[in-house]
Symmetry: C2
Subunit: 232 residues, 2 copies
């Protein structure tokens, strides 16, 4: 019987995409085994389960793999129907959640990587791009939240909370490495208060990787990228 | 009462993304008004309804806008629960459908545009990229379809049929303009037989734009792009 609901997550500790799935499983109280992947030496299982993209996260449920973090989250919500819902019930609200999930998926991640791996003009351009996209998100979330304010508590965590929290949860480490805080309260009051509420949640605290380890890894990524650029 | 279920689609006749939504509405037998947008002179309504991306398609249902074609299709399937289902009921099959929807969304469109707008080496590179992505899709669909064969009929049209049919329905026009058929039967037997079955469906025939008009527009796009490249 136990094997019938076997859930395995293949992830990588710093991946915000894998973190989304980890949070979704924890919010829904679904027991799972975790397999840490070395992305420079991917396991045969990862290549077997995700032959198309060869990326984490992969959720394996009863031997069946599901890939792509947003697809996995919907799968989790539709398969384990008891407990907290990750998506709202109302079709129009679901559409809004899916729209903003896709916006964050498509628009935020690439810029964050560029900001981390560049300096000077290239970095300034990426910061400006990111700022403009965050302005769009700030306005969108202000309109989306009831009364313009995020409602966050341990019993009411949804897909948008999970995606946004995974993307910016390590903001202090980014600040330490880059001397830059993208989500300052005076510029982005809604996003800032949302993030401050999210990082205080028990489930977010438990899932957060250690600050010092994140700082070291981001510094390593930044230095490697900058030295390879200056050498080329 | 009539106004209570008012459905308006803002589209552009050649957009495969707008075509997806048109097909979804027609498959579900949902009456709707269609607004053709001039993408060089977008209407105030389009800018109001989709301020984030300013793109078609937008579905407006009872005054509420929904944007992004895949989000709209899920909204349609969840709102009008009677009639044919666009997504399967089983959560694992839904995840597979969402995975391949995203694959087609992310991987096929950009290459098609490059192939249309370039020649020589740049075009050859895009053709090679497209070929490799279609190999992945061919293998994926062969595994996805029961017995490795597409099952297509007028009463059984799903999201993947809609996305694939919208992307490649005008393959004859592309062939005429480019002298190139990406989906030849000997290279892609599954995808080719799938497409041949789809273009014979009544709903696909009714939604297909006139061949000559597509040829003229593709030729215009190609010539404009090539002359601006050679002039730069």
């Amino acid at each position: 019987m136990e094997e019938q609901n076997k859930v395995v997550l293949h992830g990588m500790w710093l991946s915000p995409f894998a973190k989304r799935v980890e949070l979704a499983l924890k919010v829904k109280n679904i027991p799972f085994n975790y397999v840490e992947e070395d992305l420079k030496n991917k396991s045969e299982l990862l290549l077997k389960y995700n032959p198309v993209h060869k990326k984490v996260p992969v959720l394996v449920h009863n031997g069946n793999p599901v890939c792509e973090s947003l697809v996995i989250i919907e799968y989790i919500d539709e398969t384990w129907k008891n407990g907290p819902k990750l998506l709202p019930e109302d079709p129009y609200k679901r559409a809004q959640v899916r729209f903003w999930s896709k916006f964050m998926q498509d628009q935020l991640f690439e810029n964050s990587v560029v900001i981390l791996k560049t300096e000077g003009e290239a970095q300034q351009k990426a910061v400006k791009d990111m700022y403009e996209k965050l302005c769009v998100l700030e306005k969108g979330m202000k309109e989306y939240f009831p009364d313009g304010k995020p409602e966050v508590d341990d019993n009411n965590i949804g897909v948008l909370d999970i995606i946004f929290g995974s993307a910016f949860g390590a903001y202090k480490a980014h600040h330490e490495v880059l001397g830059l805080n993208m989500l300052e309260a005076d510029k982005f009051p809604v996003l800032n208060s949302w993030l401050m509420a999210l990082v205080e949640l028990q489930v977010m605290k438990e899932a957060a990787p250690p600050h010092e380890k994140v700082v070291q890894f981001l510094q390593f990524l930044r230095q490697s990228a900058l030295s390879s650029t200056s050498a080329s």
